[in-house]
């Protein structure tokens, strides 16, 4: 009896010890240096993040700066960051924010409502073109201020140092607007000093330490950061590494802690018994597509657009060329969108149906169109080459028109194309994403297809004024299904972002908005990190 009790006690103690050990293994370790990677270019565009929409520059924003809202990469939703609470007026036009009283800039200055007001005013400075203006212009009176018609932005009202009231032009969810990287908050009066451009000051978990343009940016832990018990690591080196093969060598050589993988590397890493253990995969909010210009006569007929969707074997292309580093697109909104319809099915591969639709539409012998595309390996000419023979089978001839990325983004908003291939952001805010198919959105903004459908417009407008998030998402879900049927584009795939990480790195978030952009304060390294760091 005693023996049995002793055995049970020992087992229980061992079990508890095991749990405790495993818990301590998950306990974030303080200190150490993380070598992160910024893979989208060979430099940062600018250290003035209010002036840049580039994803590459977000690697810096995330470390040094903060916005009124933040994107929670774990929950995949926007959350309040520089405020502790917010209340909305019944008409959803005015929001009152109780600001944090424990947020300090890297120059030791305490953040107040003035810093937010001044930051937004700077973004709207008359005669200047900061890219954040796109989002701040939603605030009442921001455009008047920018046009020089007002001395202040009418919609920004300081109640006291830590209470701010923001009034918008129309009912919006301000979270998606004010979480954008180009709406970062700077300390009042600092941003236009020359030194700020090379030595930025923010509210983030890390303060600027050193920048070697074209090579690396180093940030160091900010001890007065308001995040409880964060950040964990002492230092982050953000290595600028645009070359995938160089990144691969550096990762295998343990010089960097993460690597964003392309299709070829994805296969190699998945097949490697060691490397495959530490891979993070996420369906990102980017939809790859071929957009049809409805100014081109054949594309005015929905049946033609549908026929193209039926005629292309998307699954085969994703498997063979994309190496399965993508998820098949159903419609415009991505898998992680709250308005995505989980019951919806993508267009099946059915060339016979495509032929029948073309015949019905008056194109029994097909037609020819020009497809403008870049060299991108995942949504460029390689894919175009694959769809040419598939469309040829149903009588449609495709003429590829290769262009550079900067040219694609010039000709498409200008409407100078018959069709184009691109990877476009379709989230995280479904409302903003769906705006690109609203008939009142101009082609130069993002309705590149000149899509005009009354039923869609009604659903979109109803979603705009929907009283609850659930109702809004339900309406947008219907609108998204309508889009699938209308087929203003060939729905190709949603990007599967893949990041390989070293076994000693922890705290990575499955950020569907952009996997490579991580909240550094949540990252930590265990004892396995190479010595010397």
């Amino acid at each position: 009896m005693y023996k049995r009790f002793a055995l049970q006690s020992t087992l229980a103690a061992m079990l508890l010890a095991g749990v405790a050990m495993s818990a301590s293994a998950e306990e974030p370790r303080k200190g150490g240096t993380i070598n992160f990677v910024a893979p989208y270019g060979s430099s940062f565009g600018t250290l003035d993040n209010q002036a840049s929409p580039a994803t590459q520059d977000e690697f810096v924003t995330k470390a040094i700066h903060r916005r009124l809202y933040a994107w929670d990469g774990n929950a995949n939703k926007p959350v309040l960051d520089l405020a502790t609470e917010v209340s909305a007026s019944p008409d959803r036009l005015t929001y009152t924010y109780k600001l944090r009283q424990d947020a300090y800039f890297h120059n030791d200055k305490k953040m107040t409502a003035d810093d937010i007001i001044d930051s937004y005013k700077r973004i709207m400075t008359p005669g200047k073109a900061y890219t954040g203006a796109r989002y701040i212009s939603a605030i009442k009176g921001a455009s008047d201020y920018s046009d020089g018609k007002a001395k202040d932005i009418a919609g920004l009202k300081k109640i006291d140092d830590f209470t701010l009231e923001i009034t918008f032009n129309e009912p919006v969810n301000p979270a998606f607007q004010l979480m954008q990287p180009s709406t970062v908050i700077y300390p009042s009066g600092e941003a236009d000093k020359d030194s700020f451009k090379s030595h930025p000051i923010g509210l983030g978990p890390y303060k600027f330490a050193e920048y070697v343009p074209g090579s690396r940016l180093t940030v160091e832990k900010w001890d007065k950061f308001y995040g409880a018990d964060k950040p964990h690591a002492d230092k982050i080196n953000i290595m600028i590494m645009g070359e995938a093969s160089a990144r691969d060598v550096a990762f295998r050589n343990k010089e960097v802690d993460v690597s964003v993988l392309g299709p070829a590397q994805y296969v190699a890493y998945k097949n490697d018994p060691e490397l495959s253990k530490n891979i993070l995969e996420v369906a990102e909010v980017y939809t790859r597509l071929v957009g049809f210009n409805t100014d081109f006569k054949p594309f005015q007929d929905k049946r033609v657009r549908q026929a193209i969707n039926y005629a292309i074997d998307s699954d085969l292309i994703i498997k063979r060329l994309g190496k399965d580093k993508a998820y098949r697109a159903v419609s415009w909104l991505p898998l992680s969108s709250p308005a995505f319809d989980k019951a919806a099915k993508p267009y099946p591969y059915d060339p016979e149906k495509a032929k029948a639709l073309l015949k019905e539409a008056g194109y029994p012998d097909g037609f020819e169109f020009e497809l403008t595309a870049t060299q991108n390996e995942s949504w460029g000419l390689t894919i175009v080459e694959a769809i040419i023979p598939m469309l040829d089978k149903v009588g449609i001839k495709v003429k590829a028109k290769p262009v550079e990325a900067a040219v694609l983004s010039e000709v498409v908003p200008a409407g100078d194309f018959q069709s184009f291939m691109w990877s476009l952001e379709s989230g995280p805010d479904p409302m903003t994403a769906m705006q690109c198919f609203y008939s009142k959105t101009s082609q130069s903004a993002c309705n590149y297809y000149k899509f005009n459908n009354k039923d869609f417009d009604k659903l979109y407008e109803a979603a705009l004024s929907a009283p609850t998030e659930e109702q809004k998402n339900d309406l947008l879900r219907q609108a998204n299904n309508l889009l699938q049927d209308e087929a203003p584009v060939w729905f190709f795939n949603y990007n599967k972002a893949v990041m390989a990480y070293q076994p000693w790195l922890h705290g990575l978030q499955p950020n569907s908005a952009e996997l490579a952009i991580q909240s550094y304060e949540q990252l930590w390294v265990d004892e396995g990190v190479p010595s010397g760091r």
Partner: protein, 300 residues
């Protein structure tokens, strides 16, 4: 020098005015694929992109005359400041590569020429042809695999603290092509001089081998070698583009490539002007050296 700079400035200006794509469109490409027409209009206005090309060129030349290269569209910082920040790493890389090329290439070519047809000569020439034909990108990757990943001797990328450890791999990779060319040129120059009458005369007069090589052979072959060194040194700044991108080296080349794709025209103009200026300075130095090595050239 001034006409060359003016011609280059005009050429860059015309090219970037004609080719499609603009700074604002590159921002959309670099961002989320969405456009705000009002911000685009404002941006064109702020950077003067809404003005006609001749007006923009006029103000550029006026500013250039005052040594003002303008302001970067991307960073809103003075171009001169950005170029100076990037020039030293590129010069360091180019100088290191050239030193390696000279220290190895010239003696190799010399030795090969002194024993034409020998195993050493054949091996050197095969290596030289290979060095000239191998793509730098591939060579760089190979060097990374061998010296960083396999042997673990050196870091595979980056500038580190600016020390020599991070310089070795990119410099060696960059030096391969000029080294090969220098070895071939030196061999050809030495062989050419060796068949000259004055060498035969010196030999028949009983001049010792050391004096023959240093006084007659080397001095006469040096003119061609220095021409090659000058040309290669000048073009290394341009060649460094690939290496800088591959090794995340913070130089002028990677700045130029990024600025071209972002259509940051003031920086492109400034960077190209700097490369042209570098080339012109090296050529001038080479011309001066000619006269020092062979006084007949200055008399001529």
């Amino acid at each position: 020098m001034i006409p060359t700079i003016l011609a280059v400035s005009l050429l860059i200006f015309v090219i970037f005015s004609v080719i499609p794509g603009s700074f604002t469109s590159s921002l959309i490409a670099d961002g989320k694929g969405r456009n705000d027409p009002k911000v685009v209009e404002q941006m064109n206005k702020e950077f003067g992109l809404d003005k006609p090309v001749y007006q923009r060129f006029g103000s550029y030349i006026i500013n250039l005359a005052q040594l003002d290269l303008g302001q970067s569209f991307r960073t809103r910082q003075p171009v001169t400041h950005m170029l100076l920040e990037r020039a030293w790493p590129t010069m360091k890389l180019a100088i290191a590569a050239m030193v390696i090329a000279i220290l190895i290439g010239v003696p190799l070519g010399f030795v090969a020429a002194l024993k034409p047809g020998s195993l050493l000569d054949t091996t050197t020439m095969i290596a030289a042809v290979s060095g000239l034909s191998l793509p730098q990108f591939w060579l760089g990757l190979l060097a990374m695999y061998v010296f960083a990943l396999t042997l673990g001797w050196l870091p595979s990328f980056g500038y580190g603290d600016g020390g020599i450890r991070n310089l070795i791999l990119p410099a060696v990779t960059l030096s391969v092509a000029p080294l090969a060319l220098l070895a071939r040129t030196t061999r050809a120059a030495v062989l050419d001089v060796m068949s000259a009458d004055f060498i035969r005369t010196a030999r028949s007069k009983g001049m010792n081998a050391y004096r023959l090589v240093t006084w007659h052979l080397m001095r006469n072959a040096l003119v061609l070698i220095i021409t090659t060194v000058g040309l290669q040194f000048g073009s290394l700044m341009g060649q460094a583009v690939v290496i800088e991108k591959l090794f995340s080296w913070p130089g002028l080349g990677s700045l130029l490539v990024d600025s071209v794709s972002m259509r940051d025209i003031p920086v492109v103009q400034g960077a190209i002007l700097m490369i042209v200026l570098w080339f012109l300075i090296i050529n001038t130095v080479v011309d001066v050296l000619y006269a020092v090595i062979d006084p007949r050239i200055s008399h001529g």
